[in-house]
């Protein structure tokens, strides 16, 4: 956890630093990422919050007591179903599949802006700072009722950007019908 006055980190930039992510027990290790689709929890602050724990049907996420503990993620138990993604009020849970294809990875993230993209659309993938880092193809747009208006978007992105792309560049809604 970063304390006040330290240089780069979520408290000064709004972006979790590499060190904060690596230190978080929700962030999967590189070898787990290589194996196939997996959930990536980017929760680095001791907020009293635990809906991810109950959401996981596989028991792969544990917050426990006290409720401010960071979620501990068990990569072995995770089947990458992604149920936890729209539940997280902090929108801090993602899904990454490094094995999607030869040169592409897939990245899933929560998204609450209209208009939603459609499957097959080419959109701009953005990093945690909102900077466009690549063009990306929309593979899936999930928005069942249980997600309560939080869509989960899956993009295919160049493999080396799998741990960089965390959203898509917001498109302006047209007021006209």
């Amino acid at each position: 956890m970063k304390t006040q006055g330290e240089e780069e980190g979520i408290r000064t930039t709004g972006i979790p630093s590499e060190e904060e992510l690596e230190a978080s027990p929700g962030y999967p290790k590189a070898e787990a990422l290589r194996k196939g689709p997996i959930v990536v929890i980017e929760c680095v602050q001791d907020i009293p919050c635990n809906p991810c724990e109950a959401a996981c049907p596989k028991g792969a996420i544990k917050v426990g007591d006290p409720i401010t503990s960071l979620p501990i993620f068990d990569a072995e138990k995770c089947n990458a179903c992604g149920t936890c993604i729209p539940i997280c009020p902090g929108q801090a849970i993602f899904r990454v599949d490094m094995t999607y294809s030869e040169d592409k990875a897939s990245v899933s993230f929560p998204y609450e802006f209209l208009p939603l993209p459609k499957k097959g659309d080419i959109v701009q993938g953005v990093n945690r700072a909102g900077e466009v880092v690549c063009d990306a193809t929309v593979l899936r747009v999930q928005q069942p009722k249980g997600f309560d208006h939080t869509a989960v978007i899956t993009l295919s992105v160049p493999k080396h950007l799998a741990m960089k792309v965390r959203s898509l560049k917001r498109r302006k809604a047209s007021i006209k019908e």
Partner: protein, 367 residues
Amino acid sequence: MVEPMNKVKVAVVGAGAAGISASIEAARAGAKVVLIDENERPGGQLFKQIHKFFGSEAHRAGIRGIQIGTDLLEQAKEAGVQIRLNTVVYGLFAEKCLGLMCGDHTEELQADVIILATGASENTLAFPGWTLPGVMGAGAAQTLINIHRTLPGDRVLMVGAGNVGLIVSYQLLQAGAEVVASVEGLPYIGGYGVHASKIRRAGVPILLSHTVLRAEGHESVERAVISQVDKNWVPLQGTEKTLEIDTLCLAVGLSPLAELAWMAGCQFIHISPMGGWIPVHDENMQTTLPGIYVAGDLTGIEEASTAMEEGRLAGLAAAEALGCLSFEEGAMKKAEVRERLETLRIGSFGKGRSLAKKQILESRGTV
């Protein structure tokens, strides 16, 4: 001739998160409850909170505030709470008598127990141009977009990176506005990092150690001049930047709306990080005046989840005081609420609030 005064067992002032929760608990225990609000709709700030809440399952984490508000109102109706809207409580007089202003006439209402849940009002910031149309509280902008479905403008500058500033920035983006920047005088982001992350991903820069110097414009805001500040909040010359905007939102804290508690003669304590003057209360949320209880932001600025729990506590304590709940039942239910409240005040974001709450209890001397 003096008309006989209206009487009620429990009068709750303010139908927000705390007030509705208090009403539900008191009414479920069997007390006759009147819940009064000056607005035309109940719910306080809950119906503006379109984001998913943090917390535990017991706090309804992962559910949007608007849904929580809908459910609470439903529960209040089921419990038989009488809700009086468009009714301003203008005074709290001797013998726990409330002065009500309803439309074109006034009424008096005397209650055995009064629960004040009047919430808070937004702080403002004075700078040249602050009276120009387009300069508003972040809460006002949130009301416009989420209740009235009207965008206050297209290009917004948000001042303050606490949770309110961050959440309203996100919701302005959702409503279709551009948030040009979020500026914060402190050298760090006061709100939850995850709220900051959401607006960063959406392309909003967060400028720390920055403040707004002035707003400019002919008939409404057209530009804002911001600058960096040193650690004493003194603007650094040569760091000024001009931003083209049409809306400037201030998210610079809240102050408890404590007028009725002052008027009644409750003892107060000043705790700056909790928003200023706060009515002293005990573990049952009872003020220094027997039969007058407080809950929610009035008792120190926190958030909706704590407000709901404090409301429940006040409602249970009121019911117990009226004999609607046995000592044992009251003690058990209050202990459950207190435990849930505790979990909302741990960790680096809750520690300060937990200490402040202890300070309030201790300032009373006895519990």
